[in-house]
């Protein structure tokens, strides 16, 4: 479904050119849930923006069902890391927003928005404003809003990054349910190993700068899953495997940051 071919992206900075991504290639087959994990600075948010079409000026190709895409595309729905619900719209209006701008009649778009809100576990909160909701509820609203766009690929960049671990585990259950009910092809970008293993069929581990695909780990845990899976020995083994790969990259990243901090003084 989604194919990323040989993507390279470099940034010009005052200290010279930084290579954010170097020859990144990956596939997300239809209906699969793939998680992309890497240390801070591995270019995963850059890749998110490239696939979503918000960044151009890169080398390589992004293909949906074999067709190369350029710029934003109706088949790719993005969920952002930051708080992104519209504070001036109610929950149901937020979710109906992409339908509104494409001209879906009011009764139909509100009906569809209500169904999606129920799917993300927010029935009863239709007429609340985002400010009246918790951070996790707002992110679920944002996910429902992107689902209303009916993308072939749901592309999420650390949607629960700002939330605490327990809330994330519980929200993971909701994401698993959404994936199961809609058979939604999903690419999740995350820095949380537990989140990646809990949710995905496949975890792609990235290297620290420049970002390359280091390893692809198949997550053969049975579905349907719930957050209870975190206590199984299989889960622990997979987390340990990924951490082994990631530890080296993460410490490279940390060294780099410390070096910069030292040079700054």
């Amino acid at each position: 479904m989604l194919a990323v071919e040989n993507i390279t992206k470099r940034f010009a900075t005052p200290e010279g050119t930084i290579s954010a991504l170097e020859g990144v290639a990956l596939d997300v087959p239809k209906g699969r849930f793939v998680a992309l994990i890497g240390p801070s600075g591995c270019g995963k948010s850059t890749l998110f923006n490239i696939i979503g079409g918000l960044v151009d000026d890169y080398a390589g190709r992004v293909l949906i069902d074999g067709h190369p895409i350029d710029g934003t595309h109706h088949d790719v729905g993005m969920v952002f890391q930051e708080e992104s619900t519209f504070p001036w719209l109610t929950t149901v209006e937020n979710v109906a927003f992409p339908l509104d701008v494409t001209g879906v009649p009011k009764a139909e778009r509100l009906e569809r928005a209500r169904r999606l809100l129920a799917l993300v576990g927010l029935e009863g909160f239709e007429n609340r404003f985002p400010a009246e909701l918790s951070g996790g509820m707002r992110q679920r609203t944002a996910i429902a809003r992107t689902l209303a766009f009916e993308p072939k690929l749901l592309l999420m960049d650390e949607p629960f990054g700002a939330l605490d671990e327990q809330t994330r585990l519980l929200l993971g259950d909701q994401v698993l349910r959404i994936h199961r009910e809609l058979e939604q092809t999903t690419l999740l970008i995350t820095h949380s190993i537990t989140e990646a293993v809990q949710l995905a069929d496949q975890v792609i581990v990235m290297t620290y700068r420049p970002g390359r695909v280091k390893r692809v780990v198949e997550i053969d845990l049975p579905r349907p899953r719930t957050s209870e899976i975190v206590s199984s020995p299989e889960f622990g083994r997979l987390v340990a495997t990924i951490w082994n790969d990631l530890r080296e990259e993460a410490s490279l990243g940390m060294k780099d940051i410390e070096l910069h901090a030292r040079a700054g003084h």
């Binding site: 979503g52 595309h73 930051e82 918790s134």
Partner: protein, 269 residues
């Protein structure tokens, strides 16, 4: 679920603070206290009676003002000057403020001029306005527009700068057209700034208009006030001021209501 509990906490925190009735009572008490002080000063003979006339006389003059047909002619002239001037100044202010906020280059280049002129009292432009537009309505409209322009441009630019960039990215990811971006993202995200700029701009348009009228004119509430002043009809002068004051408070509260209708700012969570 834990979410529901969180939600009820978020809602209950809004109930803290003084009640509406207590605020209203304090307001009424403040007005009564001021009126009392006024009356004491008026009767004490400490100041000339002409400067601080007793409230009874002011009230009489106010009623006379309200029933006089000429009042409504002057009110109409002033209202037209203020509204036309405000409309022109507001549109020009938005037209300059939006690119000032959206484009770094334009903001850095033009911003200091706008800020500098904004602090200058606009009355210094009155002679030029009169030379250009005569002593009638047009010169007052020009002065009102000039007065309204600066706060609108500055607040609009600030409003554009504070738009959360992620909301713009959401709009792009949903493939909005340029027009949809403007009306569905930028405008609602700037609502508070637009309403604030309207209130500030409108207030200064009133000031500009009245200053122009007092200085040189043949109609309007400022002209009326100046006529009373020149003929030493002080209670009548206060009556006009009271009318202006009541109208200003009324329009201001109407405008702030516009801003309060929707769009609560999200707390950091």
């Amino acid at each position: 679920m834990a979410e529901t509990a969180l939600n009820s906490v978020a809602r209950s925190s809004a109930a803290i603070g003084p009640t509406r009735t207590r605020i209203t009572l304090t307001r009424v008490a403040t007005v009564l206290a001021l009126a009392l002080i006024w009356e004491i000063v008026a009767r004490s003979g400490l100041l000339y009676e002409d400067v601080v006339p007793p409230l009874g006389k002011v009230a009489q003059a106010f009623v006379a003002l309200l029933v006089a047909p000429a009042t409504y002619h002057h009110l109409g002239v002033t209202a037209w000057e203020v509204l036309a001037g405000f409309a022109l100044g507001f549109l020009a202010g938005v037209a300059v403020g939006v690119p000032m906020g959206a484009r770094r280059l334009f903001g850095d280049a033009v911003g200091p001029y706008v800020d500098g002129f904004a602090t200058a009292p606009k009355i210094i432009f009155l002679p030029i306005a009169m030379l250009a537009f005569g002593i009638g309505i047009a010169s007052k409209i020009a002065l009102a527009a000039l007065s309204a322009f600066f706060p609108v441009a500055i607040v609009t630019a600030a409003g554009v700068r504070q738009i959360d960039p992620v909301l713009v990215r959401v709009g792009r990811s949903f493939r909005l057209t340029g027009w949809q971006m403007a009306t569905r993202i930028y405008l609602p995200a700037m609502r508070a700034a637009v309403v604030t700029s309207m209130r500030l701009g409108f207030g200064l348009a009133v000031v500009g208009t009245l200053l122009g009228e007092i200085k040189l004119s043949n109609a309007g509430l400022g002209f009326l006030a100046n006529e009373h002043y020149s003929n030493f009809r002080i209670p009548e002068l206060y009556a006009v001021l009271l009318l202006v004051f009541i109208l200003a408070v009324g329009t201001n509260s109407l405008m702030s209501r516009l801003g309060r209708r929707r769009g609560v700012k999200a707390p950091a969570l």
